[in-house]
């Protein structure tokens, strides 16, 4: 088994007295496409910046390509691509200038691939960056990050400003990149449908902690909704082991569980003389269930 591309252990990051990340443990294997989701302010961008060495960890450990990201070597950086949440490029440059400027840093720059991406996303070479919309900037940043085919691509809400067509283009490019070569991708997003389309793994961040990190299919298999119809009215102290959320009225209950197994269904049927229907949840529903207070 190969070493994980990204690995964190008990990672903590505080800004003054405010702790943003707490006990974050995560191992991203090579070739994984990890979708990082969380509510606003849950610490997604902070986690990404810590992983890239843009922020200094308060405690714990981080490893990126086996190195400390704070002192990442040049060769490790040449294998790394990053698109920030708000893209900031030199406004006085034109598209062709920023592409040339960026390419000068990377030996592995693929000009043909860059041209393909520029065409695919309809970015005119003579367009000045100052005149571009946030969506166009986002596309340009993606071109700049993808054109040297980095082994690890870190994207902080890369599709937030993209229209549906561009989003689809982006996802197909991402899939193309991942299918041909073994690339690892970590991207944060709020659009769970995109995540479902491309992600192999899911990481859910809640109040600075990773509350769920697993393969997407495994998550879908584990997190389910149970519809319970009992023979009699359910008591006031009705509870289900491992429930994320439960609602009940009279003899009916709806319970979301984080780790379903056959034994649990059997227990419920037996205890309450009930019919238990198991429903699959999509990612958005899983996310909502996990964040239910």
């Amino acid at each position: 088994m190969t070493d994980p591309v990204i690995s964190t252990s008990h990672l903590k990051k505080s800004f003054g007295s405010k702790t943003v990340l707490q006990d974050v443990d995560m191992n991203v294997p090579a070739g994984a496409v990890v979708g990082l989701v969380g509510t606003n302010g849950s610490g997604k961008s902070t986690l990404i910046k810590c992983l890239l060495g843009l922020l200094k960890k308060t405690s714990g450990s981080i490893s990126l390509f086996g190195e400390d990201p704070w002192n990442l070597s040049a060769s490790a950086k040449s294998r790394l691509g990053y698109v920030p949440q708000i893209v900031k490029l030199y406004p006085w440059m034109k598209v062709k200038h920023i592409v040339a400027y960026t390419s000068a840093y990377y030996d592995a720059w693929d000009p043909a691939w860059a041209e393909t991406l520029l065409d695919r996303w309809e970015l005119p070479r003579d367009h000045r960056i100052a005149t571009m919309s946030p969506g166009q900037l986002q596309k340009l940043a993606l071109v700049l990050a993808l054109s040297y085919r980095p082994e690890l691509l870190v994207l902080d809400e890369p599709v937030a400003s993209l229209d549906p067509v561009a989003r689809r283009e982006f996802l197909s490019s991402l899939l193309e990149l991942c299918q041909h070569e073994q690339h690892t991708v970590l991207f944060s997003t709020h659009i769970t449908s995109d995540l479902e389309r491309v992600a192999s793994h899911l990481a859910i961040l809640k109040e600075g902690r990773i509350v769920l990190f697993d393969e997407l299919d495994a998550v879908k298999d584990r997190v389910k909704r149970l519809r319970i119809t009992a023979a009699n009215d359910l008591p006031a102290n009705f509870a289900v082991r491992g429930a994320l959320r439960s609602e009940f009225s009279h003899n009916r209950a709806m319970v979301a569980v984080g780790d379903l197994d056959d034994r649990l269904v059997g227990e419920l049927e037996e205890k309450w003389h009930a019919d238990v229907a198991v429903e699959d949840l999509n990612l958005e529903e899983i996310f909502l269930e996990l964040h239910h207070e």
């Binding site: 800004f15 902070t46 910046k49 890239l52 060495g53 843009l54 922020l55 200094k56 704070w70 002192n71 990442l72 070597s73 040049a74 060769s75 950086k77 040449s78 790394l80 990053y82 920030p84 708000i86 893209v87 900031k88 490029l89 030199y90 406004p91 006085w92 440059m93 034109k94 200038h97 040339a100 400027y101 000068a104 840093y105 990377y106 000045r128 960056i129 100052a130 005149t131 571009m132 919309s133 946030p134 166009q136 900037l137």
Partner: protein, 728 residues
Amino acid sequence: MNNRIAKVAVIRRPSRLGAVWLSYRTRWLMWILAAGVGCILFGLVWSFWTDFRRSKVIPYPGARALTSAEPSAPSPIPSVSVVNRDVQKIDWAHLKSLTVTDVTLCKPLMEKGAIPQLESLTIFGAITDQQLAELCTLHNLRSLTLYDGNSLTEKGLHAWKGQSRLEYLRVLGLTVAHTSPSLDWPPNVQTLICDDTRGVVVQRLDEWRQLPKLTTLSTRLIPGENGMPDETLDSLKGFPVLQRLFVQELGPYYPHLVSDLQSALPNLRVRPNSFDPVVGQRAATILICGLLAMIVMAVQLSSQFVTTASLLMPQFARSHLMPVIAVILLMGGLSFGLDLFVGCSVVASTGLCLAFVLILALGARCIRYLTSLNVVPMPGFNSPQVVLAIVFPPMILQFLLNSCGSEVDWFLRGERPWFSLVLLVASIWGAVDLFRWHIGLKRELEESDAGNVPLGMFDLGGWTNYWRKGQFALQAGEGKRAPYALRWMDSKNDRFIERLQGGNPITTLQLWRIGCVASSRDWLQATTLVIVAIWIAAAFLVPDTLSQFKQMPAFTGFQTLAMGLLLPLAFAFQRRPMQEIELLRPVTRRDWVTTWFYGVAFEILPVLVVGLVFGEIMLWSGTLGIWTVTDALLATVIFLGILSVVFSFGMWALTLNSLWKIALAGFLGYCALLSCLITPPGLQFQKIEWWHTPTIMVPLIGGLYLTAGVGYWIARRSWMNWEVGRSA
């Protein structure tokens, strides 16, 4: 649940004006500037308290005001004062200006042909007829100042009748002129200062009337009980080319002497021959104080009206009218302060105080368009009216005080009522116009120049707006030709970028440089052109100040260099948001830091070269006096030390996040910049001699380099630990 809600403090709803005040008091920049205003005011009150009664009246024209009456004073290059300097070092053969306490101490002065190129001579001690005759053999002498003419006789004054090149003559204590019915004067003198007329005023005036080139006369006129005697006035009217007349003031005995004479002699410019220079200086200080208050207002208004709320919130503009009125009232109050403490006319000082509003308004209307139309893309500096107000009014004030103090004094006395009134009306118009301009600011930004940052380089939040507004930036201009500066930048990028590859230190540095909006070399060129243009324009507009201009290059040159020094740091500051990406380029953190340090240092290099060349020219041209190689080397060492200090602390400031830290580092850098005044040229310029003492200079230079070293260490450490993710 209800208990939890009850514990949360309900946000109190302030009144509309309260909300405006809240938006002001929560802004750090405002407090920093307000602290500046407070400090100046405190200093002013302190100086009033300790120094007011010790103000002294200086001869006028004299000392600094002399230039207003000295349009063609000989160049003082190279000059020397034998009062304090070792006479053995003086190159007498090339000396052009000389000041001596006692003629007998300066033997070359009495040796024929020893100082052949001497053009300007000032003697504090008494001289005899014989010595005057010797002095008159100096064929190039154009300016002569004698502070003690007591020993000169009628016969001795025959000597300067042959001095045909003498253009400026100032002679004090010429007792022979009190009584003598007939005296000789240099035939081609243009400026004559002689107060010793006593009972023979008319005779003296008749003699001076014979001088065909006399344009400026300063003397003592004695009025009778019914004003100035007719024969005196007749004599004054008969001067062929006289333009300026300076006379003594007689206080309560004859309070309106000067204005009465001006009425009687409309073709002459009549002014008092003495004034208190502190009045102008204090007026200037109060005005700068008011100026800072206005800058606070301008910055605050810009930041308020740049928001979308300015267009959408009801009665937004009306609510923000109050601060404008408050500042204008403050300026009005200052003008009364000027009247009360300094003795200026209320009308004049009000006009002057409010003139800053006019400057702000004009800045907003004119200069802003240059930047908003992207003639020069200068994100971070897009409050040009504020820049204009910070840079130019103090310069203009100082310049006016130095070069035409007489006119400033005359104006402050309220003797230019029409000019004051015009200034006042124009300023009120300016205030209204400035406010109207702010009301439309947001729309203008959205429609035409949204790509520029409106809030200044220290407003970190402004950057986010800048990027988000980018899409609207040039849409109004789509299809138009890009401004020259951008086209020039494009061509530069076309030429260089594509053949650059990172990897070796030189190309990495070149790549780094492409990320700067402009190079310091470009800015030095542009600034030099602007300053030279201002010199030339001012020379034509204010011909009386020409002689003052000869002393200005050192000052303005220093200013240009100071700007050139700060600009690379300012450009670097603008790149802070891009550092997230830049740090992730395939370079180590150490290499990234090194590239930045080298990059900024190479940007400062042109300033260093220009500074050294400029300094050497100033030194060897003699503008700052006689210089030895040791002096020049010392100046260079100190200049480099100061540059290092500014560089170190400037680099440190680039990494800081909180405004206070940035302000602190900036302040340290600025202190270093100001300490240029303690370089040998600066000390020479201020006529301070102690810098020749090794016991002072060695610790000074040592301290300078030690500070630079410590600053460098702090900066390097700060860069190595910089969390760029927090700055983006």
